[in-house]
Amino acid sequence: MSSNVEADPFFQLLTDALRAGPGSPQWRQALSKLRADGPEADEYRLLCEAREHLASGNSFRSVRAGPEFTRKLFQNLNEHAGQRRPVSAATIVAIGSALVILGVLGIVAYLLTRGGQAGRNEIEDLAGNYFSANGPSASFEGGVPEGWRIIGELPLDFSNGLRAGASAQKSRYSGGGVVIAEPLSAAGPFEVQALVAAPPGADAGVVEVFVSDSSDFSQDRATSPREVVWLLKGNRPAVVVNGQSQVAGAPVEGTVRVRIAVGRDVAIVNADGTGKPLWSGVHGLAPEQPRYVGVRFIRGELDKGGSAIIQSIRVQRKAGAAGGAS
């Protein structure tokens, strides 16, 4: 039976008649149509015959509920009505879990909202500072400057600026740099200013300017657990906070003045001289830990060319602020 036939009004009439059965108006109507159609409708007449047999046998498999069936059912209904459904352990666990998740989400949302607002206010405050008091500085003319110490295992070249030396390691990355010997207090804001020269071809490895809250620098790469880092890899600058890359800047050429302003909880990184921050946000450094400012190079075994050059680095504070760690 094609879909065309199914859309046929006679098919509608016939199937209505077959459902409604002998004696119904549809049945009479369908039979008179079949009579009018003559022998061509024999197939349909046989259908009607089968339908008549079903009508005659409509008590086939007709059963009724016995008294015991009914008694049993209403006994079960009484039991159901008399007891509340016990709450399953799985349901309790599911409800508890849902409440905990909702609670955690609520707290996180609150902290994000509050933290975000507080962070924005702090960044605005930090950006409004004028850092005019000189702090530790180094210009790297011939050796390790006074007030700074070497970290890491990568050899350094102090002639005419600070460069990375050739790595003695053959199979992994190694790092080395200098960091201030006396840490800075975290109580007051300060700004790190570094001049980094990136002449064409001097793009081997990575050069970094960083602020850390720990003096525990690793021997191999000269890194510490929590840091705010401006780095230059090839000619592409980026900002990394606590190991997470935050933003990548446009390619740089020539000398870059890097400025990292650090407050108690937030920091602002500028590196393009436009005054527009490359990145600003919560730095994640421990608020009570003193700050360590430094520069370093990281090279892999395949980095054979010359590195960028750190010409100078200095720390500037607000006028009247204390110099060392509290």
Binding site: F11, L14, A50, H53, L54, S56, G57, F60, V63, N76
Partner: protein, 230 residues
């Protein structure tokens, strides 16, 4: 299910409370329970009226049990699923939404439970009939007894019994539409609501199902005729 329904689109489901004019609780109290519609009885059941539910059970128990027997063919399943149908109807009465037809709602539950059961297991041996809490089994389970009760014409009895026996061999979807539409007297629109299958498909299944029954009877007729030829 005493009245046949025209095939017309079912109105969208609405909240439990009917639109105006709606009988209030006082109006319902005034209606004698025995004369109340299925839907009114169901509303009373939703309010905790056990007597109303008893009446619905009286009206539909035979219909539900017979449907299960015709579809499942296993009397043990008929008894256990029959119990479950009415238990669920009572426990989940709150899910019924007026003005949906109560019979449609009840047969949706019945059909779903029957499908689940038939998936769980195929036929199992039938217990001793005296252990079962159902009535009418002996006289209605055998097609030849049913046919003998329908007519004194022996030839016609044979044809009726053949059709009923052939019903067993139909594909489930065709058998279902014949059981629901012919034995349970549900309209195509009601069957559509219960099965979730389009009415045009149900009509086609009805047509092809009856055609198969016709062939089954015609074939046996033919073979009986040819075997009688010397």
């Amino acid at each position: 299910m005493q009245q046949r329904q025209a095939d017309k689109p079912r109105p969208p489901r609405k909240p439990v409370r009917p639109p105006n004019p709606s009988p209030s609780a006082e109006d319902l109290q005034a209606v004698a329970l025995g004369r109340a519609s299925d839907e009114e009885l169901m509303r009373r059941t939703q309010e905790g009226d056990r007597q109303a539910f008893s009446l619905l059970y009286e009206r539909y128990s035979a219909s539900v049990l017979s449907y299960l027997y015709r579809m499942l063919g296993n009397l043990e399943d008929v008894e256990s699923i029959g119990q479950e149908v009415f238990l669920r109807a009572f426990r989940f009465a709150a899910t019924y939404r007026y003005p949906q037809k109560f019979s449609t709602w009840l047969f949706t539950i019945t059909r779903n439970l029957a499908i689940n059961q038939s998936r769980r297991r195929k036929r199992s041996p039938i217990r001793n009939l005296t252990e079962l809490n159902l009535e009418g089994i002996e006289m209605s389970g055998d097609p030849y007894q049913v046919a003998a009760r329908a007519t004194d014409d022996v030839e016609r009895q044979e044809e009726i019994a053949r059709v009923l026996t052939a019903l067993e061999g139909l594909p489930t979807d065709q058998k279902e539409v014949i059981v629901l539409g012919i034995f349970q007297d549900l309209s195509y629109a009601e069957m559509e609501a219960i099965t979730g299958t389009r009415a045009v498909t149900l009509r086609s299944r009805m047509f092809h199902g009856l055609k198969r029954l016709t062939r089954a009877v015609g074939g046996e007729r033919g073979s009986a005729a040819s075997s009688s030829v010397p």
